[in-house]
């Protein structure tokens, strides 16, 4: 069973719907016992970075999720701000991140974007930077739906899994051991999102 961690941020229905569609057992939960049993963890996140970190810290779930991710090496994927939470910190806020991936989250710089607007909202092509179970089946048509003003910068270039371009090239996905994260919204990216989540379910 895959546990979608419900620490108080909204809109987990879409993620659950997509797992249902691909026939994977996923549970939206804040139950420590259920999370303990999970074979996979999905850490969602939406809205402001500090808001997410504060809610997660106060949820009583950080300890069990950390134990699963770091000690038991349970495959764990962060989505959107959930990815940013894996980093050491963010320009958007003051709260420290989890620090499971070295590096920080920074804002898109307008001087690199020309007349493109922030947030980056829409569909953007991506490419896989290394061989990985998560990006199996990616082609030149692969694209995902993004909504974000901030993106991660990994300290160790080997952690970069997916790259995309919006005025400037940025990291759209990371993988270090059992810790993964994507900036886009697979749950809103029809065929491509189903493929990615399916990869996470079946290849890890």
């Amino acid at each position: 069973m895959l546990a979608i961690i419900d620490y108080g941020v909204g809109n987990l229905a879409s993620i659950r719907n997509m797992f249902k569609k691909i026939g994977a057992e996923a549970l939206v939960t804040n139950d420590i016992g259920k999370i303990r049993e999970a074979q996979k963890i999905l850490l969602p996140g939406v809205g402001a970075f500090d808001h997410c970190m504060t809610l997660f810290n106060a949820s009583g779930l950080r300890e069990i999720v950390t134990r699963k991710a770091l000690e038991e090496a349970t495959p764990t994927i962060g989505i959107c701000v959930g990815l940013q939470m894996l980093m050491e910190g963010s320009e958007e806020g003051k709260e420290p991140g989890l620090g499971w991936i070295k590096g920080r989250t920074v804002r898109f710089r307008q001087d690199q974007l020309g007349n493109l607007k922030v947030p980056h909202m829409g569909w953007t092509s991506v490419r896989s930077c290394k061989t990985s179970g998560l990006t199996g089946g990616f082609t030149e048509d692969t694209r995902f739906y993004f909504v974000h003003s901030y993106h991660v910068q990994v300290a160790d270039p080997r952690d970069e899994l997916i790259a995309a371009e919006y005025g400037t090239q940025f990291t759209a996905g990371v993988e270090r051991g059992n810790i993964l994260g994507v900036q886009f919204h697979p749950e809103k990216s029809h065929r491509f999102g189903m493929q990615l989540l399916n990869n996470f379910v079946r290849s890890y």
């Binding site: 909204g10 229905a13 719907n17 493109l116 829409g122 569909w123 909504v147 749950e187 029809h190 189903m194």
Partner: protein
């Protein structure tokens, strides 16, 4: 390659899916959930669902129906119609709606847009701006399905909504709606030129080339109704969506950012 979002707009009226001409003359198109399923298979960029009865009937969104739709929508879903409180908006997000579209409430209380944006984030708040020329030939913002003239001029209204916290504007040309005569490019140019936030152009699209024209005029994304639900010349109901190859050739490849 830069892409722009190409967005089908579905109208819900008396429980069914309809399409209008100039915000009137509704024609039944089918069942909304089936339509969403078909659009899903066509791998569309985003979908807009508008309940055009809710405000007039002074009732909240039909959450049960929206839940059914959201369960089938594996693309970003924007919903508008009858949203008058932050609680209602939050309920919609919990069902899997990505963005809420406000019109009547925003016109009468811009502070609602501010409060909403503060609670849910600007990127999830869209204000729809329905525009028609008045008897003096001046563009004016209308509400209540084009029935009520607000007296507001579109550019200043759009700026006011941006300042209030809207993350995106959905600009509808009432006169071009359902007419296949292309977007009102003069209107798109005027309004987008005054905005920092993305503008979605809607009303009048008949072919893929119209999308490129709207983007050249300043739109960040394009929306259409009739073009995606009817097949001309006989207006038979047929759900369609341009293929990626056609969009690449006729739209995306011409968008390269200077």
């Amino acid at each position: 390659m830069r892409r722009i979002r190409v967005i089908p707009v579905l109208l819900i009226h008396e429980g069914g899916l309809v399409k209008s001409v100039r915000f009137k003359d509704y024609r039944y198109v089918g069942d909304p959930i089936n339509a969403v399923k078909v659009f899903n298979e066509k791998e569309i960029d985003e979908i807009v669902i508008l309940d055009i009865d809710a405000t007039r009937e002074k009732r909240p969104p039909d959450f049960r129906k929206i839940r059914e739709i959201a369960e089938e929508a594996f693309m970003p879903l924007a919903y508008g119609g009858g949203i008058t409180s932050i609680d209602e908006a939050k309920q919609l997000f919990n069902l899997g709606v990505e963005k809420v579209i406000v019109n009547y409430t925003a016109v009468h209380d811009p502070g609602f847009v501010t409060a909403l944006a503060r609670q849910v984030g600007s990127q999830s708040v869209v204000v729809s701006v329905d525009v028609k020329k008045n008897i003096l030939g001046k563009y004016r913002v209308f509400t209540k399905n084009g029935r009520e003239d607000t007296g507001e001029e579109p550019v200043s209204f759009a700026k006011k909504m941006q300042d209030a916290g809207a993350g995106e504007l959905f600009l509808n040309s009432i006169e071009n709606d359902g007419t296949y005569r292309g977007y009102d490019l003069a209107l798109v140019t005027k309004v987008s030129g005054a905005l920092g936030i993305p503008l979605v152009a809607c009303g009048g699209a008949s072919r893929v080339e119209d999308f490129a024209a709207a983007v050249s005029a300043g739109a960040s994304a394009v929306a259409a109704g009739s073009m995606f639900v009817f097949q001309r010349p006989h207006q038979a109901v047929l759900i369609s969506y341009p293929g990626q190859q056609e969009l690449k050739e006729k739209v995306f490849s011409r968008l390269e950012v200077k």
